[in-house]
Symmetry: C2
Subunit: 377 residues, 2 copies
């Protein structure tokens, strides 16, 4: 069974893109990824597309005018983890011998849908009664505050860090810094979460070219060292424990042969700032309960004692076009491991982790959790 | 890289099931498949669910109350080929070493949606102008009639055969026979296609347990000998050629090490009767242009000189709950290869082929084409 490598990545600017179509966004991201991989489109054996709210058969629709029409195309939907899950399928096809070179795409046109409001509130009785995603994160945040003394300022520090990182990433939606005071003074969404601790809905696409090891020709290729997927464990059994993230990360670390201490950088799912703080602890970057002091100390900021978390700006600054986020995280890790991240380069980056948490199912901790551990070749 | 086997299958009755939920249908089909495979649910490593029109995160939602909550769950959407495509992912995960035992599910609650009318007509400008799926099949049928002298009676013979087969399958929606005269006298949908040559929208679910070879313990296991997926080639280039089906089948035959002459039975995509007739020729069962005379002669009927096509009744008699159809086809092939098909048993069945064609993309021949070749162990 072959190892798998990322040889090309590409993404659009993430933003509110009036009138953008999935086809146009995909075309832009795919052209960049294919150019970066220096391959002919015809040499790609299969396509996997992650998307949440687009039309049925979206992968076939957006590829209809490309040289890849006719190749195997598979649409994957795992909420916010859609393109991370699509990447797992691409990896599996290469390892299974079904393909030697695959294209994985994430795309979402979100800001023009639903009058800007996600339809989740209408989807189930829990949401209709107020148990929306920010409310869920807020309850977990209050639990963390009561157990460990975590403060609102510490959650706010996540947003401050990520907005600062975002100013160094030209693809990020937000290009300005903010302060703890500004974050805490912004509109209260679900106590303790304020507006500036929420990721902005965005439009965008990202793409990656994955190949079998024998097709790797240069030192810029990044190894997919270990990947894992979990769906949410039952909340009735695990409470607010974030056990899904912990166990899925452990599985991916194990497959990659790394430990948390080896990780130099991570892209994690800061859809709401507390989510990132929980991730420090579940990924093994902080002792249980110490995520708050650690982020406040600057440990996870560029140049901190590391690992650097969300050097791209994360969902909070880069924006969150649901289906595109997973591959955008991979885009950042690949760029960093290649040493091509410019002003936001993490020094000596050799091991990076991308973690996507997919939305909400009332009884479950999350819809899906996908973890990819990438390493220098 | 291990071979993959089907060790359990289960399905619901396909019908208009008032008030049925995806969760209840899945629960029924999965319980049957797991019982058939004689495994504990906890021993399953991953779940793949194919569905077209259900809610986002459907796999996680329908598994939330099951012992499989927490396992990796991936939702796949490739129009009518959704669960056939999901099966490819399950196979790939086993071959890749990501899982040793997977559950593949197809489900659709269709009859209660859209007032019974599929929304495809609103989806694109071609459909809005009348280029709907039956119209596309009708144009292909007219082309075949002009080229080869195929007659309306020959297309009708497909429906007559499949309705007859359906009376032998307790899971089929239609349980009565029909005649060529009745088929031709039924309402004209798109000349030459009449109502009784169209599959009925239906609700239902089907499931299969797939395992790595070293987990096979008994002779009822069926080998997944070769699988392939293609998206539709560009219609501007191939015209009405059905090249996607031909080339995808060739790839699957090649992987399985079989030829058309080895095939004892096939489940093919008779969403509209002409589709099955084209399949005879593209799968290598009939010489080009000879599909009409061959079906009229009874060659593909149970007890004919074979291969037997759609012994289950096919989409026309079994019904077509989009996402569930692919695994229902696999259910039939597995049942036949085990020699457990009762009154509809194909004598000496050793090699079976399941073919699903997924819906329509205006510029493409089809959305997706999935082919699985199954053989006795």
């Amino acid at each position: 069974v072959t190892d798998v490598f990322v040889t090309g990545v590409g993404m659009t600017h993430f933003a509110k893109l009036e009138g953008a179509s999935e086809a146009a966004l995909v075309q832009e991201a795919v052209a960049l990824a294919i150019e970066d991989a220096a391959v002919e489109p015809e040499s790609i054996d299969a396509v996997f597309l992650g998307n949440v709210f687009g039309a049925g058969g979206l992968g076939q629709i957006v590829m209809a005018a490309s040289p890849l029409a006719g190749k195997p195309i598979t649409n994957v939907e795992n909420a916010c983890a859609s393109s991370s899950s699509a990447m797992l399928e691409g990896i599996a096809w290469i390892k299974a011998g079904f393909a030697r070179r695959v294209l994985v795409i994430g795309v979402e046109v979100l800001t023009g849908r639903f009058g800007g409001l996600l339809p989740i509130a209408a989807a189930d009785p829990y949401s209709r009664q107020g148990m929306t995603l920010p409310a869920l994160y807020a309850l977990k945040a209050r639990d963390h505050m009561e157990k460990y003394g975590t403060t609102p300022e510490q959650f706010a520090a996540v947003a401050v860090k990520n907005r600062r990182h975002g100013t160094l990433n030209p693809n990020a939606r937000f290009q300005t810094t903010t302060t703890v005071e500004e974050v805490l003074a912004s509109r209260l969404i679900a106590d303790p979460i304020t507006m500036l601790q929420c990721c902005p809905n965005s439009d965008g696409a990202a793409a990656a070219v994955l190949v079998a090891e024998d097709l790797v020709t240069d030192s810029r290729a990044v190894r997919v060292a270990g990947s894992a997927l979990g769906s949410g464990k039952r909340r009735a059994e695990i409470g607010w424990d974030e056990a899904t993230l912990r166990d899925t990360a452990r599985q991916a670390y194990g497959r990659a042969g790394v430990t948390a201490a080896d990780v130099n950088l991570a892209e994690v799912h800061d859809a709401f700032a507390p989510g990132e703080l929980f991730a420090y602890e579940r990924l093994g970057f902080s002792e249980p309960g110490k995520g708050g002091p650690d982020v406040e100390s600057g440990r996870f900021t560029l140049g901190g004692s590391g690992p650097t978390v969300n050097s791209s700006g994360g969902l909070i600054a880069r924006g969150h076009p649901l289906g595109a986020t997973g591959i955008a995280q991979v885009h950042e890790i690949v760029t960093q491991l290649r040493g091509e991240a410019g002003d936001r380069q993490v020094a000596g980056a050799q091991v990076g982790v991308a973690v996507t948490m997919g939305g909400s199912v009332p009884q479950l901790e999350t819809n899906a959790c996908a973890v990819h551990v990438l390493t220098t070749r």
